[in-house]
Amino acid sequence: MVTTSKRRLLLGAGAGAVAGAIATPAAAGLAMRSALAQAVPPASGMHGQGHGAGHGTSGGDNLVVGTVDHERNGFDPHTILTDWDVGEASTDSQGRKTREWVVTAVDKEVELAPGLMFPAWTFNGRIPGPTLRCTEGERLRVVFNNGSKHPHTMHFHGIHSWRMDGVPYAGLVQPGERFVYEFDAKPFGCHLYHCHALPLKRHIHKGMYGTFIIDPDPARHPEAAAVAESRLLGSPRNAEWQEIMICMNAFDTNFDDENEVYAANTIPFAYQQKPIRVERGRKLRIYLVNITEFDPINSFHVHGNFFDYYDHGTTLTPTSRMVDTIMQCQGQRGIIEMDWSEHEPGQYMFHAHQSEFAELGWMSHFEVV
């Protein structure tokens, strides 16, 4: 069955340049699928013989060529999945918990796809910025230093005073200056923060955004304390879960107000070339944020499974049950909960169901073990 067709050789030639990628299980799987592809029809003269090549075989070639240097970028999309930034917590004399972060704006050239450099603006030198995670009811202090050449803000989605809103008239920070955003952590849920300086589209799509998660305080939700506890980072019930953060984003590399590159967590095909490991023994929770500019909506679709969805993550009961596709408009986000316990181990695809976004980079795999 597996014959070395011309097509296979061509893939091999392409993969030669992707030495790093071919070593991963995903790429190996793709190569295998490609080898099973139909052979190329015999060369024709003037009259093309219908299709240039067989149907349904092209998936293996839908990749970028080469590998991104995550070390030079200073961040790795696989680390970003789980690197919750809980800041510095302290408790005052009245027993009130305060949590503080220091975030710095940095102009930085980021390698998006292999060899494709993007002059980004970032929080802490990474895209998405640090995933700030706290607990409902805490007092939050975000010390924002602007190390960029441009004025920026941190605009948090949450309940707070206008003075702390991080918009051009409140909390705009000039280059070299700082501002402290201070507010209470509410409401619990899956939120985001982003720069709200003008021009807004440019400041967002250049990379100035990040995920902001407020875990529910079980004590405040006696009716669903167990559910709330399962979301509370560090609690015993939370340990039964595997949690990841995915930020659906895109980049307009030539500044024509259309995206050239789409991704889950910035690097196109990052979880295609190296899938996300999912243990069957623990349930999977995804904090999903859509910060795609220019395209009104983005979406999340998983293969071979269904899930419960909590829009904005502000409820302890699902807002959608048993779905396999959800969509989010720009700035929308939510929590996905999935169970893989009875699945056959292997690779399960997930991606935007806008095929264009998927083929331009927002294509990923879970490696269920």
């Binding site: 993969a15 093309g48 299709h51 240039g52 090549a53 070639d61 998006l112 292999p114 060899g115 083929e359």
Partner: protein, 395 residues
């Protein structure tokens, strides 16, 4: 007079080394200026922070089963790296040779394995390392005709139908031309000028249009004008060597040559139409050009009136005027770089310009300068232009 001026203007012929030395001086100074610019970098403050300028022209697209091959030419302030390739808004694996950045005006070949679909449209985007996209749309995908004997034979047949057959048909009017009056003959020569004037404009237009598709720095439009003038000048010089003006068979040969170069261009157009998936259009093109080109044979026959050319002369003229359409179709079907096509059209326009001058000269020599403004001449030119325009509507 001439002898008086020469010694004062030119360096003394007795000291050629002195002439050489004076000629070397500007070369040395030029070298010094360039060295200063390149090594001294006086403009660095201006250019240091300037963003890179990138231009890429996709000169040729070849489609073979399961594979898209591009030939690209780059131009920019620094070497350009093609980082990624998208086809139909999807990232695709590709190989580029030679690998690595492409220098200024350098070329590279990109191969993209892709299941392109016969008869449908595709869009290719090359993303440079700075994220600049360079696009090429394939309106209708067709396999690029193979370079093998059966295909070449078929394409050659197209070329012969297009070029040789109509020119030969037009030449059949030669006996009829012999029975014309002076006025009638003047009309026929003026008609020839009109035909050629149309072909000149058409060829020049094609050349400039192709030039517009070439990379800006190649200045292809200037190249069209330069090649036009050089070709016209060189052919005039060759035609008039020995002090004789071309007439009769010689003039007919030059007309045939100019028309031949024009027909090479028509061949390119038909070949390109076939390659671009407009095969249905190609049939119309061949029909149109055939009708169109009959009048060309007419024009070639005109200077032969009153002489007794041999049959072989007619065959030779038909071949010279018509056969270039064959390589034209071959080359056009393979998709050629627009710069070379533009140059080719420039030479063709120059060749036609030369014969326009010579045929006009023939009218003047036969009937005097005043003959150019007679109704027969003006009517002839107008009729020639009109015939070509109307028959071009078939194309």
């Amino acid at each position: 007079m001439k002898q008086d001026i020469a010694p004062t203007l030119l360096a003394s012929p007795a000291t050629p080394w002195r002439t050489t030395a004076w000629l070397l001086l500007p070369v040395v100074v030029l070298g010094a200026i360039l060295a200063l610019l390149i090594f001294g970098k006086p403009l660095e403050r201006l250019t240091a922070d300037a963003p890179p300028v990138e231009k890429v022209s996709i000169e040729r697209v070849r489609l073979t089963p399961g594979l898209i091959t591009l030939h690209i030419r780059a131009d920019g302030s620094q070497p350009i790296t093609i980082a990624q390739v998208q086809v139909d808004a999807a990232f695709r694996l590709f190989t580029i040779s030679p690998p690595g950045p492409i220098g200024r005006l350098g070329t590279a070949r990109i191969e993209i394995p892709y299941p392109w679909i016969d008869g449908e449209g595709h869009k290719i985007v090359l993303l440079s390392s700075t994220g600049a996209p360079f696009e090429r749309t394939i309106d209708v995908a067709r396999a690029t005709p193979a370079w093998d004997v059966p295909t070449l034979t078929l394409l050659a047949l197209v070329g012969v139908l297009l070029g040789v057959a109509p020119v030969a048909t037009g030449l059949l009017a030669f006996p009829a031309l012999g029975s014309l009056s002076t006025n009638g003959m003047r009309f026929v020569l003026a008609l020839t000028v009109g035909l050629l004037a149309y072909l000149f404009l058409d060829t020049l237009h094609e050349g400039l249009e192709q030039a517009g598709r070439a990379l800006e720095r190649l200045r292809a439009q200037a190249a069209v004008w330069v090649s036009l003038l050089i070709a016209a000048g060189a052919l005039t010089m060759i035609g008039r060597r020995g002090g004789r003006v071309p007439e009769g068979a010689a003039l007919a040969t030059f007309i045939a040559l100019g028309i031949g170069l024009h027909n090479l261009g028509e061949g390119l157009a038909v070949g390109a139409a076939i390659a671009a998936g407009e095969a249905a259009l190609a049939t119309f093109l061949v029909i149109g050009f055939t009708i169109h080109n009959v009048s060309e044979g007419f024009g070639i026959a005109a200077p032969l009136v009153g002489r007794r050319p041999r049959l072989i002369t007619f065959i030779g003229l038909a071949a010279l005027a018509g056969l270039p359409a064959v390589p034209g179709v071959w080359i056009g079907a393979q998709a050629v770089s627009p710069f070379w096509m533009a140059l080719c059209f420039g030479v063709g326009a120059g060749a036609i310009l030369q014969v326009i001058v010579e045929v006009t000269g023939l009218i003047v020599r036969r009937d005097g300068r005043a003959a150019l403004l007679t109704p027969a001449s003006i009517g002839g030119v107008a009729a020639g232009l009109a015939i070509m325009y109307v028959t071009a509507l078939f194309v």
